[in-house]
Symmetry: C2
DNA sequence: CGGCCACTTGAAAACCTTCAACCTATGTGG
DNA sequence: CCACATAGGTTGAAGGTTTTCAAGTGGCCG
């Protein structure tokens, strides 16, 4: 374990995940051995910092440890959209494994720590089965966690579904008792959901009016716990 | 190579993909060795046949060889939606690798042949690195091919983007010269895109009127070749 | 203080859905 | 062969939802 830098609670070390005290947050239950999974923890990225750019040659796969990354995509037809979020335990960059270039820009929505996974070169044939199997599990599970459960819903339901999905993925402890912070602007939420920012504002107002949640600025508290329709495992 | 059944052009055999004459369609360029990747080809599924049901215990991962599978999802709030398509070379069922149950019902939209991949048990630690690496590559690439490039677009643009994306994924040879068949009803397309079937009809009419494509029933011909914005590799 | 950014609100316009009717092709039973 | 039923497709008009435009508020920071 070679220390490269230090920062209080988030030492920047290159280490085996098996030795990490918070490996469970990344890898879920530890039924599979973690030996051979090596990673290098980053310094905290402050809000607004960009971890990687769309189009950049893919250099690494990251896993989010703490905070939140927002994925922005420049569209061919001009303009930008929010293509996704990455919350603790989720992978970033693996979707570029075959295309070779990152498909979106990843920006810290709040103070964020990531680990850079140390992967063997593709095609080398020297990969550790254990590592590959763990990653495959995560990659396979990710679309289900990440996929839009709000397709074909009304604006109101979309916003509600988004917030409940966020609470699940962010593992908010007791979302009906404690308020949590949405780390995005109304415009970002709108872009992500395919809605105008004003529509997000009005939908939040209606949801609050009907008692499904309460919201003050970016602080939300849910009235009912979200169904574990997706995102329990991994 | 053990024959289990036979049917003209689609013998139902359990074999090593390295020995399959059309392995390139499934696995792309053959830079990585295919040794150790074993699969069992199915009999052709006729239109309407169901390969697997939502909620069913996950028993296998399939790869589409020919035809098209349509993924239908029963929603918690009642009703159904088309959650996706699977075209030749695309994987099916891997997203249930961690949840353990299929998340949607897969129905043949046209005569379809699949191969059941013979995977080692998860967590066994006896997996072939070569197989895992190939599958990881495919799984990583799939969201990019499959993700909705029409989020936040108007109905017209959504329908256009869908058809172009379909032509790319289906590898239609010269989509501007030869017509190809969309293997879905207007209602299915609408469900997939989050639009009413009538809206799909009207959008197709407008696209034809403006010369972006021509359509007769389910046969489409494009005016301009789709940009290879996604889905070139894998 | 002034500027900027996120957020909010209202009113008009654009868009999409819904409803209802009708059409066409296909398949079935008499 | 015809009558009938069914499913997919198409069209028009009405109504609802969402977007757009415009204006205004409040917080934060130089």
């Amino acid at each position: 374990m070679r220390h490269t830098r230090h920062n209080g609670r988030t030492p920047c070390v290159e280490t085996d995940c098996a030795a990490c005290p918070v490996a469970r947050r990344c890898w879920g239950d530890l039924a599979l051995p973690l030996e051979g999974v090596r990673a290098r923890r980053s310094m905290p990225l402050e809000r607004g910092a960009v971890l990687l750019h769309q189009g950049e040659r893919m250099g690494a796969v990251y896993i989010v440890v703490r905070g939140c990354l927002i994925l922005r995509e420049d569209l061919a037809r001009g303009g930008q959209r929010v293509a996704g979020l990455r919350l603790p335990g989720e992978l970033l960059g693996i979707e570029s494994y075959s295309s070779g270039a990152y498909s979106s820009t990843a920006e810290a929505a709040t103070e964020t720590v990531v680990c850079r996974l140390l992967l063997p070169a593709a095609g080398s044939g020297h990969s550790s089965s254990s590592l590959l199997e763990r990653i495959l599990l995560k990659v396979a599970a990710q679309p289900e966690r990440t996929a839009a459960p709000w397709a074909g819903l009304s604006a109101l339901e979309r916003v509600a579904a988004f917030i409940e999905n966020y609470a699940l993925r962010a593992r908010v402890p007791r979302p009906t008792e404690t308020a949590f912070i949405l780390p995005m602007t109304r415009a970002d939420i709108g872009s992500y959901l395919g809605l105008a920012p004003e529509t997000v504002v009005r939908a939040l107002g209606q949801l609050q009016g009907s008692g499904r949640l309460s919201i003050h600025g970016r602080a939300v508290r849910l009235a009912e716990p979200p169904l574990e329709c997706a995102a329990p495992a991994a």
